[in-house]
């Protein structure tokens, strides 16, 4: 199995290391040609404003949307969740093209600035022990479509969701050394990790 990580900007290295430690092949994705032989793609944390602007004027997002329509599994964390959300609560991304594909409404930076960043133990469906979630200037999931399942909540707010094989997290499972969330995503795709 080969899993790509979008590498326009942000914490892509941490996802590559985490996926590598789980035994899958990884690939940095900066151009549409890199999408050709992937079994799944991770969209990392970082600055969504930077990512949408770097992608604009290229065929990367359009090609990726086609692959997602064809069933490519995608997991977006933090900024990656913002790229996947069908709706944003404000227009701070200035109308730049995003991906969509996850039926949620997301508010950018809704958990506050850096001094409000926090960690919290999260109960995750399918895992016996809680995961320590790291929320950094995190986006918040405000509304869910009918086909979006919640895998974890914090203070009653969904923080890990999926719609089919499109997953989104408002926290950073790539920070630290706990690979269980990545492993859950890969198990869902049928990978033996």
């Amino acid at each position: 199995m080969r899993v790509g990580v979008l590498a326009l900007q942000g914490a892509f290295r941490e996802h590559l290391l985490m996926l590598g430690s789980l035994g899958v092949d990884t690939l940095k994705v900066t151009r549409s040609k890199h999408l050709a032989d992937l079994d799944a793609l991770v969209l990392p944390g970082g600055e969504s404003t930077a990512m949408v602007r770097i992608a604009s004027g290229t065929d990367l997002f359009a090609t990726l949307r086609e692959r997602m329509a064809g069933g490519l599994p995608v997991f977006g964390t933090c900024a990656g969740l913002i790229l996947l959300a069908d709706r944003l609560s404000d227009d701070s991304l200035g109308g730049y093209d995003r991906l969509g594909g996850l039926d949620v409404t997301v508010a950018r930076n809704a958990y506050g600035r850096q001094r409000e960043s926090f960690t919290a133990p999260l109960t995750v469906r399918g895992l016996d022990e809680p995961v320590e979630g790291t929320f950094i200037r995190a986006p918040q999931i405000l509304e869910l479509g009918p086909d979006t399942e919640v895998l974890s909540r914090h203070d009653d707010v969904p923080v890990l969701v999926r719609q089919g094989s499109v997953w989104g997290a408002s926290f950073h499972p790539e920070l630290g050394t706990d690979g269980r969330i990545h492993a859950e995503f890969l198990h869902h795709l049928g990978a033996a990790v």
Binding site: A7, L8, Q9, G10, A11, F12, R13, E14, T30, G45, G46, E47, T49, A50, R53, I54, C78, A79, S92, G94, R108, N109, R113, Q114, R115, S117, F118, T119, T134, I136, R137, H172, L175, G176
Partner: protein, 293 residues
């Protein structure tokens, strides 16, 4: 600092990686930087080139200016405190800035001590010219390091020298046996536990950007090829002929740093780069990189 605080502080730096952090002096410049794809902005009253030209004591920016920049953009906002000026840092934390730069670009407030950064909830980035300096800052609580370069010159040679120095000192540590690391720590005046960690990681334990003299897409791509996690651009954007185009081009070159064709495309049609000043022509007492100890 608690383990959780360290994770949050270093975690935000991870999110800035592969990106460009741009100096801005007003809301309009902040919006231009965000629109160009900056991963954060540095709010300050004067870019280093103007501080250099105008002289005088350079201090933390007016809180009103910082507030206005915070409300103008949705990306992280950094601001500078003077070296050792812990009250300026307290003010910046109160204002809600996302990262504090304890910076040699401002006039030092303390010629002996740096700020004890471990007692703050907001993370710090600090400059370094060599490995020992970087590790002393990390020991004081810095969550991110930038090689200093020589700010406000548009001359990349010092940035190059500092990054190469840090990288080669890290490689040299990697070649030492464990019992030689004690003396190595003494020689670079850095804590042993950090020296040992660097020797085993083969890099600094925190995100490492480059600063000071980056003026072109090629400068940014070169630093990325040398292993930088990202770049700070101070005077290089808003002292150039076409800041919008240059800002976008430097962002593009930072993402596609290993693709010369993409960097070549990004380098076209940018108008004049900042005029700049050769570091060799800056008299030693006016070199900012020598501030900090």
């Amino acid at each position: 600092m608690t383990e959780t605080q360290t994770l949050l502080n270093t975690g935000l730096a991870q999110m800035l990686k592969g990106g460009v952090i741009m100096d801005v002096v007003n809301e309009e410049q902040a919006r231009i930087a965000e629109a160009a794809g900056a991963s954060a902005v540095m709010a300050l009253e004067r870019v280093p080139a103007d501080i250099r030209a105008q002289g005088g004591v350079a201090r933390m920016s007016d809180p009103d200016l910082i507030d206005s920049i915070i409300s103008a953009v949705s990306i992280p906002v950094m601001a500078k405190a003077r070296i050792g000026h812990f009250v300026e840092a307290q003010i910046l934390e109160t204002l809600g800035v996302d990262y504090i730069d304890e910076s040699e670009v401002l006039s030092p407030a303390d010629y002996v001590n740096h700020i004890d950064k471990s007692v703050f909830k907001v993370p710090f980035v600090c400059g370094a010219t060599n490995l020992g300096e970087a590790l002393r800052r990390i020991q004081e609580g810095a969550s991110m390091i930038r090689s200093k370069g020589e700010a406000g010159t548009g001359d990349v040679s010092e940035a190059m020298r500092h990054l190469r120095t840090i990288n080669s000192e890290i490689r040299a540590l990697g070649a030492k046996s464990e019992d030689e690391l004690y003396v190595a720590a003494k020689e670079i005046a850095a804590p042993y536990h950090l020296v040992k960690q660097v020797a085993s990681l083969g890099r600094l334990p925190v995100v490492t950007f480059v600063a000071g003299g980056i003026a072109t897409p090629a400068d940014a791509a070169m630093m990325m090829q040398l292993g930088a996690d990202g770049v700070f651009v101070g005077s290089g954007i808003f002292k150039s002929g076409n800041p919008e185009a240059r800002a976008k081009a430097i962002v593009e070159a930072t993402t596609h740093f290993d693709d010369p064709q993409a960097v070549a495309e990004a380098s076209r049609g940018l108008g004049d780069a900042m005029v700049g000043i050769n570091v060799a022509d800056v008299p030693a007492p006016h070199r900012l990189a020598e501030r900090g100890w």
